[in-house]
Amino acid sequence: MAICGLFAGIAASLDVLGWQFQIATNDITTSQIGFLGIAVALLGRNTAVGTVIAALLFGALETGTSVRNLDQTVFDPNLAPYLTLMIEGIVVLLVSTDVIAVRLLGLHRGLLPRRRTPEGEGAL
């Protein structure tokens, strides 16, 4: 858990020192980045390589729908970030269960590697 905090601290410092160059008391909490991070780790199925790929996907979703990068004629840039959030929500929702994937691919449980989720998260 200490290492986890270490990585999270680096992530926040990257955001502030490498991009924003400023900080307000509630910058990090309002930007949802921490929660997106959890989503990325889940999508990467808690493996290092998978996490990189998932992070690239989410990063592409975020930057691709930002007001700066989106063509006005393709999609309303004011709406696009929310569409991104919806997509991310649906992705995480589908990642949360392997029953659907198992059904769709016609696989049996057990053929897929069991998702290793941290035990002991218990009742939140």
Partner: protein, 387 residues
Amino acid sequence: VTPRRIAVGGIVLAALAWFITLPPIVARTLVPSVILAVGAVAAGVYAATRDERRFGITAAALGVVAVIISAAMTGSSPHGVRSVFAWGALISSMLVFATPLLYAALGGIVCERSGVINVGLEGMMLTGAFFGIYGSDVGHSWVIGCLIAAVAGGLLALLHAWFSIHLRANQVVSGMAINFLALGITGYFFVAHYGTNGTPPNVPQIPNVTLPLVGHLGFIGVGIGSVNLLTWLGLLLVPALAWFLFRTRWGLRTRAVGEKPRAADTVGLPVLAIRYVAVVVSGMLAALGGAYLSFGFGDSFSNNMTEGRGFIALAAVIFGKWNPFGALLATLLFGFSTALAYRLPALSGTLATLFQALPYVLTLIAVAGWIGRSRGPAAAGIPYVKE
């Protein structure tokens, strides 16, 4: 005189040390506070060395904290202290901040008692906030707004229920997904429907209940004289839910499903159906809490306006030990600290930020087992698979 009583006395002394620097007394020197706080620390140390470690350390720590806060109080102008600690206004804004938390926390209790973790409370509140004000705007009535809020929150909860009960998803992950989804859906419809202007200014709001005859009660009268209808309803819901959970047949069944679903199933209870109902009810309650934010206390919607209140509500569930009355106490405490945090910048900005962190600190202390065991329903988070 047991060591525990001495420690409790110490805690009272520490509270007194702070209290005498506040209205109506407003002591201007630190001396009496320090004397009281030293008494608190001494009592704490005495108890801690005689097998009452928990109470003793609490009393000693509170004594130290009391000195620091009292120093901040005596160091600032008496006018400032009087304006920040106007008890009537403080109580009424405590109720304002506690109400949405209370609804979401009660929802969380129902849900977790039935064995489903609901991290999606935040999203359900947000959905209630937006669709509530939308319904109130379109239907020209706050009743319709409340109904639509409850339906929208219930539908989102139904999605969570389907994933966590039927598809046996990881409930924490599914709840997180619900939060993202709600953030996206409400933001999308908000911008698509209202554009950059925001919600119109004349949306019907949930009315305040103005009590007659409370004007004579001094600061309490100021505090509860004109409080929103949803606040009173929420306060009534607390004993109602406690009665349902601990005194009725279906409450017992709900708890049984949350503790030992296998046993509940063996005696013929519809485990999955009970869980579905509990999750949907929790979504509806959380949505009402959100509705209070957008058109009860406030009169407009803004993106992500719940700002983590759902998570504080989860903390209140834990702090209140999965009991409605405990949750009420926790939300009132959290509401008080938030109300204080909003009024404190007049005195000290840093102190205000510290008070904003109080709910989280208290929850950490609660989870660490400092206030006795805080243990959730045994089957919470575990999908039930029928044999």
